[in-house]
């Protein structure tokens, strides 16, 4: 429940404090939307405990607001993206000159954007003046994201989210080739190896793009692909495909070099260069294989999100 107290004197100065004790979020998003109309439509705060307290000081011609908000063990859906054990702590201030600042920490113990991701905690600070969007500035402390068996290290960045223009280097460590290939759920496709490297991330008002990011591995690995009937048939007419499929039946690589290019539209162009051999093909003669792969990563994530949800609802229907 919400309790408040206020006081003001004859000169019109005073204060108003209010406190919201533990407020259970069970299916209360429509209620919250009335208080916070700017909550994005796709956002659903399914579960969690919210505590909030604030004080508004005012005098004849100015006022200032301080508010502390905390969400614990939240379950949040944003469209097809799902996050669990979300802890969010925010200190917010706003005054009559329009100067605002929100500072806090967001911890996502488990998020699923089609593949599971964990974050080490996002410490942020967002400030500026409501009257001038050029003054808006979001600062994110460095943090780690854990996915695909490895981790991504994000440096501290400072950007105006309303007009972003920033380039920063993200470093990738120990990403497992097996986890990547599993995303494609292709029968007969198996791989083992780790991938490290750095990606230059550019953020512009159009979105995120990567140009000639360089990932790779000097630790030997293996790729085995025994194609389904369809692919094998296609290979009979295409010598390049035939050779690649023969090599990939058991490709033991000693060097993997991966160039990553990505556009805001989600279109990615990946150039993988593998050097190694296949012990039971051409007497193990050395192989230098270059795979140029084009795909849309956003479509991949959408497909993963949909198939995760469909398998859930199909499982439930058949279990009943």
């Amino acid at each position: 429940q919400l309790d408040a107290n206020y006081q003001y004197n004859t000169q019109g100065a005073g204060f108003l404090n209010w406190t919201l004790a533990r407020y259970a979020l069970q299916g209360q998003t429509p209620v919250l939307r009335r208080f916070l109309p700017e909550l994005p439509a796709k956002l659903d705060l399914a579960q969690g405990n919210l505590t909030h307290n604030a004080s508004l000081r005012f005098s004849a011609n100015r006022w200032s607001l301080q508010a502390n908000t905390e969400l614990t063990s939240g379950v949040v859906n944003y469209g097809e993206i799902y996050a669990q054990n979300v802890d969010w702590k925010s200190q917010f201030s706003l005054d009559s000159t329009g100067q605002f600042q929100d500072q806090g920490n967001l911890l996502l113990e488990y998020a699923n954007i089609g593949l599971p991701i964990t974050s080490s905690g996002i410490r942020y600070q967002y400030r500026g003046n409501t009257s001038n969007t050029n003054t808006h500035q979001l600062r994110l402390e460095s943090q780690k994201l854990f996915l695909l068996g490895g981790e991504i290290y994000l440096p501290a960045i400072q950007v105006n989210p309303l007009n972003p223009n920033s380039i920063f280097l993200v470093s990738i460590r120990d990403i497992q080739l097996s986890s990547i290939l599993e995303l494609y759920a292709q029968q007969g496709l198996y791989g083992e190896g780790t991938i490290d490297g750095q990606l230059p991330i550019q953020i512009t008002p159009l979105g995120i793009s990567i140009t000639r990011g360089n990932l790779g591995s000097v630790i030997p690995g293996v790729i085995r692909y025994t194609p389904s009937h369809g692919v094998g048939a296609a290979a009979s007419s295409n010598i390049g495909l035939r050779l690649a499929l023969d090599a990939l039946t058991d490709l033991r690589y000693t060097l993997l070099d991966l160039e990553v290019n990505y556009q805001p539209s989600g279109d990615a162009h990946l150039i993988a260069r593998l050097q190694g051999n296949n012990p039971n093909w051409q007497q193990g003669r050395p192989i230098d294989l270059t795979l140029s792969v084009e795909e849309n990563i956003l479509d991949l994530l959408t497909a993963l999100q949909i198939s995760n949800r469909i398998t859930d609802s199909l499982d439930r229907r058949f279990r009943r």
């Binding site: 390049g240 050779l243 090599a247 051409q282 270059t290 140029s292 084009e294 949909i306 469909i310």
Partner: protein, 45 residues
């Protein structure tokens, strides 16, 4: 001694180039079909 000729496997690498275009069509196509359904048959949905 008699020289023996041994056919060693050629050591120069076989270079292979392959272009692959991955279409994540199926489930994305399902969503597009549903979008179209909802638009064209608003009386049913």
């Amino acid at each position: 001694c008699t020289p023996t000729v041994q056919v060693a496997a050629p050591t120069d690498p076989i270079t292979i180039n392959l272009n692959v275009k991955i279409q994540h069509e199926i489930l994305v196509k399902v969503d597009r079909e549903i979008d179209a359904l909802l638009e064209q048959n608003s009386d049913l949905f």
